[in-house]
């Protein structure tokens, strides 16, 4: 049995974030107090998650436990479930959130008016709380409610930077997300009707019975298809990803970092949970959803990179690259093996760490170039803001999958995972093609920022703040990746 303190951490982390969101509007706006408070709380939650991970992996306790929310046991009340994977994800989410906030501390001040900044903090806290709730929850309807919080908070975070473009992007994002959540809601209703439960393990048992007796196979397929489509829209799988570059490209740097690093991941992890915990991999295979996901993942890997190649705006380029990376994750999910899902989780973590860094670095570079976002305008910015330049380079190498960087580990595990599956040729070809395409747009970007520009001193403004946080971060990633695969394997 794990100790009482660690046992309460999942609940405590969600509630701490909620409470800090609730009291933030009451704080004075002076001294950027709200932002400091949210950073502190997110940092605290990060430490708590790390401790939970430590306890879960080292104490010889059972690897996961259920936490009933209230006085009533499993099928009657809500429940949280925490295991190593959940605690790793919450640790990564909190860390990425904290670093995105700290790394963009000054650009946030430039982009957002003070009174909006306070609300921005409320939204960030709510977003983190909803992400953690999505990570820990064991109940489908709770997941739906927190998906909605996530949606509203994410759209509001896009719109937090005032301007015509962000408003349009936020609306577009909102409409697409609402289509997604509508589909998810329909699917949850169907599943509730078929199984009579909302809790994941009870649903799983009921679905196994239904499949064994070959009852209601068609409604099951439809609900699976609907819930997958809904969440795929929200997590920007390729044909549904048209909203992403707008939303991520136009908002303030902190928002882009948070959105593309974390919000997408929350939805993807929900899909993985539904596949793995609600339906079970055999049922997914039986209902043919794995093939669909696999093909869409392949498509996203290629098309995301192709779109990214055509962009001139550096933030939009990185946003389209997110679409390609989401494709990698779905490729892993579509392999429909334990190894595939482990690789997908690993890529979620890697991408959640690197994408915020890329956005932060790109934001820092474009600030250094006088708030221009065109790729050619960034020429030589490395020499103005070395940390940001280094961050962009490291992130780019990692995205390309150069050995020694974090992206390599996840691409390697994806490759290894696809060895067992009959579709190995396709997945290997797509991995190779996508890596080459990644290189085709990331390498020129790195070269551009490294090229010495003789007018550098004239145009460029003062360097952006330190990005030192970013690098410490990265060295830990590979280590964590290994820990993670170890847990999935065991």
């Amino acid at each position: 049995m794990i100790n009482l303190f660690a046992y309460n951490i999942p609940f405590a982390s969600i509630f701490l974030l909620m409470i800090s969101a609730i009291i933030t509007p009451l704080l004075p706006e002076k001294n950027r107090l709200p932002e400091k408070l949210s950073c502190c709380v997110i940092g605290l939650v990060m430490i708590l998650s790390a401790y939970l991970l430590y306890v879960l992996t080292n104490s010889g306790a059972p690897l996961s436990f259920n936490f009933p929310m209230g006085h009533f046991p499993a099928p009657w009340g809500n429940e949280l479930r925490a295991g190593p994977l959940e605690s790793v994800l919450s640790l990564v989410f909190c860390a990425a959130m904290l670093l995105s906030l700290l790394g963009n501390f000054s650009s946030t001040a430039e982009d957002i008016a003070p009174s909006r900044r306070q609300i921005f903090c409320v939204l960030v806290n709510l977003l983190t709380a909803s992400l953690l709730a999505l990570t820990y929850t064991n109940d489908l309807f709770t997941a739906y409610v927190f998906i909605e919080i996530n949606t509203i908070a994410a759209c509001a975070i896009v719109a937090v930077k005032e301007g015509a473009e962000t408003t349009r992007a936020a609306l577009r994002y909102l409409v697409m997300s609402l289509v997604g959540s509508g589909l998810v809601m329909i699917a949850i209703c169907l599943l509730y009707d078929l199984t009579g439960h909302l809790l994941m393990q009870n649903m799983h048992a009921a679905i196994q019975v239904l499949v064994r007796t070959k009852n209601y196979l068609m409604p099951l397929t439809v609900s699976l298809a609907l819930i997958t489509t809904g969440l795929a829209i929200k997590s920007a799988l390729y044909p549904f990803a048209s909203w992403l570059p707008d939303a991520h490209g136009s908002s303030t740097n902190a928002s882009s970092a948070i959105l593309s690093g974390l919000v997408l991941k929350g939805h993807i992890f929900t899909i993985i949970k539904i596949f793995y915990r609600v339906f079970g991999l055999e049922v997914i295979h039986l209902l043919r959803m794995d093939n669909v996901i696999f093909i869409l993942g392949l498509l996203a890997m290629i098309m995301g990179s192709v779109h990214a190649l055509r962009q001139n705006n550096v933030k939009r380029m990185i946003a389209w690259s997110s679409v390609a990376q989401v494709g990698y994750i779905f490729l892993g999910v579509g392999l429909n093996t334990i190894a595939g899902i482990a690789a997908a989780c690993l890529h979620i973590i890697v991408h959640a760490c690197i994408k915020p860094m890329l956005f932060t670095a790109a934001g820092g570079l474009s600030n250094a170039a006088g708030h221009k976002k065109g790729l050619h305008a960034l020429m030589g910015t490395f020499y103005v803001n070395q940390w940001a330049g280094l961050g962009l380079a490291v992130g780019a190498f990692s995205m390309m999958g150069i050995p020694g960087f974090a992206g390599f580990a996840s691409k390697l595990s994806l490759t290894l995972a696809s060895f067992d599956s009959p579709v190995i040729i396709w997945s290997l070809a797509a991995l190779a093609a996508s890596s080459v395409l990644n290189a085709l747009y990331y390498v020129p970007a790195v070269i551009v920022i490294l090229t010495h520009h003789k007018d550098a001193h004239k145009n460029f403004t003062a360097p952006a703040p330190t990005y030192i946080y970013r690098d410490k971060f990265l060295s830990g990633i590979i280590l964590r990746a290994i820990v993670k695969t170890y847990h999935e394997g065991s």
Partner: protein
Amino acid sequence: MNEEIKLIWQKFFNWVSGNGPRPENEVIPPEPPPDLPFTQKPKDKYTRFHEATLKERYNQWLEIHGLHIFSLIYSGLSVLTCIVIVCLLLATVAELPPFGDEKNPANNEVIRRYVEHGGHETGAQNIVAGLILDYRAFDTFGESAVLFTAAVSVLMILGVSRRNNIEESSPDLNESGQNFLERAPPVNFHEIRQDDSILRAVASLSIPAILLMGCVVVINGHLTPGGGFSGGAILSTALILCANAFGFERVHKFFNERTFIISSSTALMIYALSKGYSFFTGANHFHSIIPKGTIGNILSGGLILPLNICVGLIVAGTLYGFYALFSRGDI
């Protein structure tokens, strides 16, 4: 009779189209013609020209970029998708367990416990109230958080931006001529204020009744249908009516942005803390000190009554806040 309906329609129409009340033309309003709803209203020359050009420019733009076909395909595809979805879902529905049958999978041991033990486990007579505020309270907490998120976001989008813009008007927006609203003078109280004596008389009679009704619905949430959310919505209508009849300044005296934020944050905080206490004690198998009371009494249901009051406060404040923000961009 017909004339009266026309007159009422006219008033409503004027209100919606933003022309405000016209107490002086109680007899027969001269303009605009009553049958034309506001979207088809003949507009001033410039606007019509402007909208026409916008449409034209839009069509041209579609053609230039070769998007016309794309937009047609998009429309066709979405209709097709929806037909496919409807057919698929209809086929699914045909396979689902039959309607109203008691042997449906949903009527399982979970429901049995809710009904059979719900009474003494939660102390609430209304099973739904016990369900959402005790058994599945985490969902409901999430729901309040959704409302809070939306309130804060709408405040940010409509309220705060306006305040900032008036204080430190951003030059780049005004230069491009885009932001015509920001150049409009800020709305003052007098402009919206209604001098309708009938409305005032009716409002002063009905506002206490509505408030009472709202309180009854909130406080009896664990005994009868209703509860924090519906009661809060009723309470907010009393505030809205007050603002409409006596002007926003009256409401502003006791309910402004500061009180809005303080009241909803405090209520949500009480909600979170009390629910957190009950989650904590429940999960750790500690004894909870909250008495359940006897079913059917007003003081029963453990935490449900205070939680309903908190939710009612949040909802009333938030919905009035939405109203105020939408109608004048400030609370």
